[in-house]
């Protein structure tokens, strides 16, 4: 653990590419999602729109959470059935 430090100049090409922010890809979409939600919730709060605050906000929190949880469950399932192990060894 103690000898695992690296200088930025010694990063591999793959690591360098992973440090880049994909503004036109998933990274940008996730940033936009946050900005859109902040505007919608703020608008709903100041203009007394019950649907946005009472239904949409908790609904979105639940939807994303259930989605992430299901994604994890499918990963555990595919790992248990050996699929993931095969993929990983291929990658390495």
């Amino acid at each position: 653990m103690k000898d695992s430090k690296k200088d930025m100049s010694e990063l591999t090409e793959q690591e360098k590419s992973e440090l880049k922010v994909e503004w036109l890809g998933v990274d940008g979409a996730l940033v936009l999602l946050y900005i859109a939600l902040a505007c919608i919730y703020g608008y709903g709060m100041l203009n007394s729109i019950d649907f946005i605050i009472g239904i949409m906000a908790p609904g979105i929190a639940i939807l994303i959470t259930v989605g992430v949880f299901l994604k994890y469950c499918t990963e555990v399932f595919s790992f248990a059935t050996g699929k993931k192990g095969g993929d990983k060894s291929k990658k390495e």
């Binding site: 653990m1 103690k2 000898d3 695992s4 430090k5 690296k6 200088d7 930025m8 100049s9 990063l11 690591e15 992973e18 440090l19 922010v21 998933v26 990274d27 996730l30 940033v31 999602l33 946050y34 939600l37 902040a38 919730y41 703020g42 709060m45 100041l46 007394s48 729109i49 019950d50 605050i53 009472g54 239904i55 906000a57 908790p58 609904g59 979105i60 929190a61 639940i62 994303i64 959470t65 259930v66 992430v68 949880f69 994604k71 994890y72 990963e75």
Partner: protein, 473 residues
């Protein structure tokens, strides 16, 4: 709480301990115990980041604070808090994954030398006591069972220690995922009924326009100095050791980054729920005659059906457990792998000894936390106290270590920490400053002065960064 709800609570917690026990068989060496073999997938990183951040202070504490902040809690605290953390997700998290594969003291050691690392390690270990979380447990116990808060806190601390000692990071991450799911779904599912019971936003505005009209405006519920403190404390996450551990344990740099970016949207939506719940609590008790945290738990329990009540309590207590076990694990890791390692003259401990020390440390953290947690009036006050002092000391040297690749000296690291600490103690205890009757948190003064001390200190001593490059480390 009915007998069925109590059975649900007991069964869920036995299940969680069994998960920890399952992972205890696979976490026998240091890399698996502390870093989960650096194999955490995206979904698990989202769950563990979410649950570790949104503990008792995040849920029960936010509800309590929102009873006086109102809408400003969303516009200043929530939007501001997450906005200033975007650089952490976009640029710092991937760098942690490839650059800081150990702990924060490891990072400090490489950039500023041994003394700075020991000093940083001690500060982090103190912040790992998580007294705000333990204080929150007491209010949940009072609200759900009218039980003695210290007794409930002791049970929850014992469970947290159990999960930490058994499963290591993988056990903590998997239980975090389960708690994250229960916490968000149960707290959010209980909200619409509560919200419409007071007549929605029109009902809230009608009820509060007389006693607390400032709560209904975007920036009115928080005095300006307090708002500034909150925004600055939001960047506290940049030096949070549990986040470093998660990013380092993620299976790729992109994993940690994208997990955190998604967390922002969940946090924002969940903040609306908790902040509006706090506002509703104020509508129901405008004089705030009862502790709002206790009223919140009691109110939600009253509104939910049987079984859902039990799951709600598991979700709330689970949020607290998942935060506590995360901090106990990282605190124990820092004691055994950093402090003891350095005190032994850089000799590594054997894997089994290191894990045993971490387990003992987790027990000690729990005991100290129980003795200190209930000395604060509000959950958030306990959280803010520890955040404030640790941020003043650590923020500047950690961010410089991660984001600045130029010259770095021992004097710079030590000076920024010592100046930050001294200024914090001076303005907290000797000459506190207040503007318009609102106390100014010493972090506002300590942070810029810590940065100045870093710049001046960086002019003295050897460039450790250049030395490291020459050695090819």
């Amino acid at each position: 709480m009915t007998i069925i709800d109590n059975v649900v609570v007991v069964v869920c917690f036995i299940g969680i301990l069994l998960v920890g026990y399952y992972f205890s068989k696979t976490s026998q060496d240091m890399d698996s115990f502390y870093k989960a073999n650096r194999a955490l997938p995206w979904s698990l990183v989202v769950g563990t980041l979410m649950a570790s951040w949104y503990g008792g202070a995040g849920v029960v504490g936010t509800v309590g604070y929102s009873t006086t902040m109102g809408f400003a809690g969303f516009f200043i605290w929530s939007i501001g808090a997450h906005a200033v953390r975007f650089p952490l997700a976009l640029w710092v998290a991937p760098r942690i994954s490839v650059k800081a594969k150990g702990t924060i003291p490891d990072l400090l050691r490489v950039n500023y030398g041994k003394f700075a690392a020991v000093l940083g390690a001690v500060v982090i270990v103190i912040s790992c006591l998580s007294i705000g979380e333990i204080a929150a447990v007491g209010y949940v116990g009072e609200g759900a069972w009218h039980a003695n808060k210290i007794l409930v806190a002791a049970i929850v601390v014992a469970l947290s220690i159990g999960v930490t000692c058994l499963g290591g990071l993988m056990g903590v991450a998997v239980t975090d995922m389960i708690f994250f799911f229960l916490m968000v779904t149960c707290v959010s599912a209980a909200f619409p009924k509560l919200f419409f019971s007071v007549g929605g936003l029109d009902g809230i505005k009608a009820a509060l326009s007389g006693p607390a009209p400032e709560m209904l405006t975007a920036f009115g519920g928080i005095p300006i100095p307090q708002a500034a403190i909150l925004i600055i404390l939001c960047i506290n996450l940049y030096k949070d050791p549990t986040f470093y551990q998660r990013f380092a344990a993620a299976n790729s740099p992109k994993t940690g980054k994208r997990a955190m970016l998604l967390c922002f949207s969940i946090w924002l939506s969940f903040d609306v729920v908790t902040i509006m719940t706090g506002t509703i609590i104020r509508v129901r008790d405008t004089a705030l005659a009862v502790q709002p945290e206790v009223t919140y738990v009691a109110t939600v329990v009253e509104y939910l059906p049987v079984v859902a009540k039990g799951l709600f309590i598991v979700g709330i207590l689970g949020a607290i457990i998942s935060t506590l076990d995360s901090y106990y694990l990282i605190g124990g890791e820092i004691i055994s792998n950093d402090i003891i390692y350095m005190l032994r003259g850089d000799r590594k401990l054997k894997d089994k000894v290191s894990i045993t020390i971490t387990r003992i440390a987790a027990v000690i953290f729990g005991i100290i936390g129980l003795f200190t947690a209930f000395r604060f009036d509000r959950v958030y006050d306990a959280y803010l106290f520890l955040s404030s002092i640790s941020m003043t000391l650590l923020f500047v040297p950690i961010i410089a270590a991660l984001m600045y690749d130029g010259k770095k000296t021992t004097v710079a690291g030590v000076a920024s920490m010592v100046v930050g600490g001294v200024i914090w103690i001076l303005f907290q205890y000797v000459c506190p400053v207040s503007i318009s009757g609102v106390a100014i948190d010493p972090v506002l003064i300590g942070l810029p002065l810590s940065f100045v001390a870093f710049l001046i200190g960086n002019r003295f001593g050897k460039d450790l960064n250049a030395e490291r490059r020459l050695k090819g480390l």
